[in-house]
Symmetry: C2
């Protein structure tokens, strides 16, 4: 069966990865999945979206105490953490979405989850601390007084989470087809690059 051509966007917090994903999807007239995934996971798992938002990128160590304290299983402790359960539900949803139709999926290790299911253009968006700090205050409306600390913490958490569930290094260029610095290149330039690469990918098939 022909695999769907989709775009996965991994991104540093504050790097405008989500905005870029939405703009790319608009230009290509395909759906962009971001918060929609959270809603679907919430509906399927029973967890509240706010809880998922917070826990969805936490890694919990599977030592006895970590596992036992984090575990929450109706049938008693089975070695899974809450994060594992969220991961399982989320993986299934992402794999269904990615196999169904061309789309953009932001975050959630979709590049890894869809490696065998879809024909992915794997994108990573990053930017330096100053660009991101300014953005999380001005655009996201974050009121944290120490945005640099908040960014460093988020980066560390996403890196750990990605490594734990995929075994790969988050932000290592070789895991992506294209990695772009949105701060230095500008958001619109990033959108153009991704749209063009996607169109070339489509073109290659029809040639």
């Amino acid at each position: 069966m022909k695999k769907q051509k989709i775009i996965t966007i991994s991104r540093q917090f504050g790097s405008a990865g989500r905005t870029i994903g939405k703009k790319v999807a608009e230009k290509l007239a395909i759906p962009c999945y971001d918060d929609e995934i959270l809603q679907k996971v919430a509906a399927e798992s029973g967890f509240h979206p706010d809880f998922l938002k917070d826990q969805g990128e936490y890694y919990v160590s599977h030592t006895f105490f970590g596992g036992a304290l984090a575990g929450r299983n109706v049938n008693g402790y089975n070695g899974y953490s809450i994060q594992d359960e969220i991961w399982i539900v989320q993986s299934k949803i992402i794999q269904e979405l990615g196999a169904k139709e061309p789309c953009v999926i932001v975050g959630r290790c979709a590049d890894y989850l869809l490696r065998d299911v879809a024909d992915c253009l794997k994108v990573f968006i990053h930017a330096d601390m100053d660009f991101r700090a300014k953005r999380i205050v001005e655009v996201y409306g974050e009121r944290n007084e120490k945005p640099l600390k908040r960014l460093a913490d988020k980066d560390k958490r996403r890196k750990k989470f990605y490594k734990y569930y995929t075994g790969l290094e988050w932000g290592d260029a070789k895991n992506y087809d294209v990695a772009l610095d949105s701060g230095r290149l500008g958001i619109d330039a990033c959108v153009d690059v991704i749209v063009n690469l996607y169109r070339m990918k489509e073109q290659r098939e029809t040639d």
Copy 2:
């Protein structure tokens, strides 16, 4: 003084980074410096180009024995290795080239060396082992019977060298404006992305 807009291309061995650099330079009608740098370093340092080619990306540990054994100084041991001396001559040449005119410079940590001297579009080109193994045998004419081992060795060496002289992680997406997988995207697509980003960079200035 206005900084020159240049393109630096770091690349994994066998990833076609040099070919991409040459094609980009052709399209933009600017010079591409690669082996020319080696020739200049040879002329200035007195070392033979073949020796430079081999040593130019070796990192030598500066322990007493490493330094003492690798050192070769007319005035006796001064703590520099041959690699350090090559590095110093090469750095000067690259900084002069990068400050002079728009150009493409392939390899040699030019992105790092020119960080304050030129306005660089910093590119990293990579590809998976199979693509690169095929290429070093077919295109470069390498006769090594174990191309995968040769690639792994080269990667390791470049990474260590880059880290030693720049303090940065070679291949970490965040050190580059754009990182591209030439195996998955194709050489021409990589050329297009770089040419377009460079033109957008020029455009931004004239707007």
